[in-house]
């Protein structure tokens, strides 16, 4: 185990959505390599608070890589330099003593900055609300085992369902496109028998909402897949495209 580190942080500070914002440089001294990235920020914030300075605001909650609340664009990459993890799962041992770390918020028109590093991801909510569900009411559903699902399909649907709605895909994408996120939900339900009745309606509704939110267009660069903490696959995007075109050109129902 190596010794403690001294780091320089270049952090985006912005008082609120109307503020211009700017980078502020902080020293983070005596940082243990065993700290998580957010714990490192906690330590910096403790010293800021003691000095009477406003602590750096960032979103976080579970701190174990599942709630999708944490974000941070670290040294040019969402969730930092390691693959398949969230920022809260990133540890300081991934950095070098003396390093300068640049920390920015997710950047996208559809994710306006609320304060400092916290952004507003309610656009994702509205996309989910547009159709990310199977319309069944509580009660009055068949016995669970009356809906068999082949294991391969179930597993594939599961892979899509692991998305934590963090927005790293948008942050990573040079076009700020939300295709990976949207396609993950569309895919999960398109694969499962439960999702079939609303399959084509759903893809239209969710894509329409995605467009309305002002996300960019996918040019298949694949950055989203590479940076997604849950390794959601690009196959989902292809699947969504297929369903979308099928719904538009070959299905009766056309709602959007």
């Amino acid at each position: 185990m190596s010794g403690n580190m001294n780091l320089t942080l270049k952090v985006w500070r912005q008082k609120n959505s109307a503020d211009q914002g700017r980078f502020v440089t902080y020293k983070a001294d005596n940082i243990s390599p065993d700290m998580s990235f957010l714990e490192m920020l906690d330590v910096v914030n403790e010293t800021l608070v003691k000095k009477g300075e406003d602590p750096i605001h960032f979103d976080h909650d579970c701190r174990e890589g599942i709630c999708g609340m944490c974000s941070l664009y670290i040294n040019g990459r969402p969730h930092g330099p390691k693959r398949a993890i969230t920022t809260c799962q990133l540890h300081m041992r991934s950095f070098e003593d003396g390093e300068t770390i640049t920390i920015e918020p997710w950047r996208a028109a559809a994710f306006p900055v609320i304060k400092d590093l916290a952004v507003d991801r309610s656009s994702f909510e509205r996309i989910q609300q547009a159709g990310g569900y199977v319309s069944v009411n509580t009660g009055g559903v068949p016995d669970a085992n009356e809906i068999p699902v082949p294991k391969v399909i179930a597993d594939e649907a599961f892979n899509s369902a692991t998305c934590i709605q963090c927005g790293a895909c948008v942050a990573a994408c040079k076009n700020a496109s939300a295709m990976l996120f949207v396609s993950a939900k569309v895919s999960q339900l398109a694969l499962l028998p439960q999702g079939q009745p609303e399959r084509y309606r759903r893809v239209q509704a969710m894509v329409a909402q995605m467009d309305a939110e002002g996300f960019g267009n996918c040019t298949n660069t694949g950055a989203c897949e590479a940076e997604c903490p849950k390794e959601i696959s690009l196959t989902n995007i292809a699947r969504m495209n297929r369903d979308y075109f099928t719904s538009k050109f070959f299905k009766e129902e056309d709602i959007h």
């Binding site: 664009y73 040019g76 996208a108 076009n175 960019g216 660069t221 196959t235 495209n241 297929r242």
Partner: protein, 261 residues
């Protein structure tokens, strides 16, 4: 119908247009390459000129050419539209952006590569295609012996020679097959003797290569044509055929003329 047209105005619809026009251009490129390979024939342009005539006068192909021009325009226009809306989607950029950590260079520079190709196309078409259609091109007469088709007599016809029309017939008296055609070959030859032309072509072919390494497979992803079984094939085609074989073959033409003709 309005729904149908709306389908194309959505983000996915625009992408669909990009991919269909892109793929159409890819197929054109194959045909164009095969045709242009005739330039390598040591026949002083007989085959090439005859092919050029066929391509510009056979009706179905003429129709397809119009589709082609439209495709180029639509592809370029939509590229512009998409690029603009993409930059609107991120009004504030990152201070530090490490794109190479997560995506191939080609995929991040399709617009620039496309623009180079567009410039190339303007030069290219104004030089060859516009010349052929509206420029005053010289005619050349090829006479091949029926007995021995390799023995060809070539006569450049003066511009004033009459009649200056394309003709292709068998001259039974002389025992020859005669072709009188616009000599595009000469134009090509002349052009490719200029160094800056060669440089432009070779660089453009590099851009084309990068554009297609990403573009060809990207188009399939956009269409949703993605299956474990075929993806490796598409990737192979993307790289080896559209990324290497085709651009290299095209680039070989100006180089061939510059150095060996």
């Amino acid at each position: 119908m309005s729904n149908f047209s709306k389908a194309f105005s959505s983000s996915l619809g625009k992408k669909l247009i990009m991919s269909l026009t892109g793929l159409f251009l890819c197929t054109f490129l194959i045909v164009h390459l095969i045709g242009n390979l005739q330039l390598f024939k040591d026949d002083q342009g007989m085959a090439f000129n005859s092919y050029s005539y066929f391509m510009t006068h056979f009706l179905p192909i003429k129709i397809i050419s119009y589709v082609l021009y439209a495709s180029i325009i639509i592809h370029a226009v939509y590229a512009l539209v998409l690029t603009r809306s993409n930059s609107k989607a991120r009004p504030t950029g990152y201070a530090e952006y490490n794109g190479k950590a997560n995506s191939p260079w080609t995929s991040r520079n399709m617009g620039i590569l496309g623009t180079i190709i567009l410039i190339f196309l303007v030069v290219h078409m104004s030089n060859f295609w516009a010349q052929y259609h509206w420029g005053g091109l010289p005619y050349t007469k090829y006479e091949a012996e029926l007995q021995n088709p390799d023995a060809v007599t070539v006569t450049q016809l003066p511009i004033s020679a009459v009649p200056l029309v394309h003709s292709d017939y068998v001259d039974a008296q002389n025992g020859t097959k005669v072709l009188i055609a616009k000599d595009l070959y000469q134009v090509v030859h002349a052009s490719f003797k200029q160094w800056w032309y060669v440089v432009l072509y070779v660089l453009s072919m590099a851009a084309l290569s990068f554009h297609l390494i990403h573009g060809f497979r990207s188009a399939f992803q956009t269409l949703g044509w993605d299956h474990k079984r075929y993806v490796p094939l598409i990737r192979t085609l993307s790289l080896w055929v559209f990324g290497i074989l085709i651009p290299v073959a095209f680039a070989a033409m100006p180089l061939f003329f510059f150095f060996f003709k």
